[in-house]
């Protein structure tokens, strides 16, 4: 251990605020990009599942209207 006590470790002989603010920003930003990237992938998967389900529903549902060929007489 390079320090005599935990207090000395935090204070770093007056350089504490500089050192700790750097580490804080580093972990916050790296954590943020990791969290954001994970959420983005989850979002894209959920979105595509929704789209797939909606097309399936459309394909399997009975047709609401039918087209009957009209054959007008040629007389």
């Amino acid at each position: 251990m390079a320090f005599d006590s935990f207090g000395a470790f935090i204070a770093m002989e007056g350089h504490g605020p500089y050192v700790w603010s750097c580490y804080f920003v580093f972990f916050v930003l790296m954590g943020a990009i990791a969290f954001w990237s994970l959420r983005q992938r989850r979002f894209v998967i959920a979105q595509q599942r929704r789209r797939m389900n909606s097309t399936q529903v459309r394909n399997t549902s009975p047709a609401g209207a039918s087209f009957t060929r009209i054959e007008p007489s040629q007389d």
């Binding site: 251990m1 390079a2 320090f3 470790f9 770093m12 002989e13 007056g14 350089h15 504490g16 500089y18 050192v19 603010s21 750097c22 580490y23 920003v25 580093f26 930003l29 790296m30 990009i33 990791a34 990237s37 994970l38 983005q40 992938r41 894209v44 998967i45 595509q48 599942r49 789209r51 797939m52």
Partner: protein, 247 residues
């Protein structure tokens, strides 16, 4: 050879490989980063000149190192995009550009905070600092250009050209501390020489650099997977994959 090349370019193949690699990249990377940072913060000896403020080096150097190597990787991918039209190369560039921007910002921020107690100033327009700031703007440019062009192929080509033009900045960053007489200290690691620090300082530093590389690898795989899912949403393998993942 060509078969391997083709396989490498296949998004489906990459997706599977990434899924296998990702847990390893993340956990080994986090462990190495934690070991390097913990060692550097609490156990490494104090610097006789800079006191304890030098302990910022254990995140400053990894961030700056990665910021530049990510750009070089993007440039290689840009070349592959232009020459072989490989889609995966463009996926890589788009996926990692924001990560590169964050790493560059971190290098600049930690450098500024380190500069205050060491040099007596947060910022100075010295060659190393200015060229790093240009790198940050290059990353912003790549992100903005990629987002501005909606056509996938033209966007890929335009971004690749921008990345390749910007690569001229990398040797400027690297040699800035040698070409110009600046405040910034020379490189900590050189391939050809032994480090000028004692091993109690450079071993934890090397650990945190390698750890951050692995964490970056994880982030790159994760973000590339997202980009592939977005682009290949209509293909059968993506549909099957999404169905197989359950609810």
């Amino acid at each position: 050879m060509w078969q391997i090349f083709h396989k490498l370019g296949s998004p489906k193949w990459f997706f599977g490989i990434a899924a296998t690699l990702m847990p390893w990249l993340l956990w080994v990377g986090v462990a190495m980063l934690a070991a390097g940072i913990g060692w550097g913060l609490a156990f490494a000896p104090q610097d006789y000149l800079q006191g304890n403020s030098y302990r910022i080096i254990f995140i400053h150097v990894p961030a700056a190192f990665l910021a530049q190597s990510v750009y070089i990787m993007m440039a290689v991918a840009g070349l592959v995009t232009l020459v072989w039209r490989m889609k995966l190369a463009d996926v890589f560039v788009k996926a990692v550009a924001p990560v590169g921007a964050i790493l560059t910002f971190l290098a600049l921020f930690t450098g500024a905070v380190w500069g205050k107690p060491t040099w007596g100033t947060w910022w100075i327009w010295d060659a190393r600092l200015t060229s790093m700031l240009i790198l940050l703007f290059l990353y912003f440019g790549v992100i903005a250009l990629g987002a501005a062009i909606s056509d996938e192929k033209s966007s890929a080509r335009a971004v690749a050209v921008l990345v390749l033009v910007g690569v001229v900045n990398i040797p400027i960053i690297k040699y800035s501390v040698e070409w110009w007489n600046t405040l910034h200290q020379p490189a900590t690691f050189k391939l050809t020489e032994k480090p000028s620090m004692p091993p109690e300082m450079w071993v934890p530093l090397l650990l945190s650099v390698l750890g951050l590389y692995l964490v970056f690898g994880w982030l790159a795989c994760l973000r590339m997977q997202t980009e592939i899912l977005l682009r290949e949403g209509r293909t059968r393998w993506v549909k099957e994959l999404i169905q197989a993942r359950g609810s």
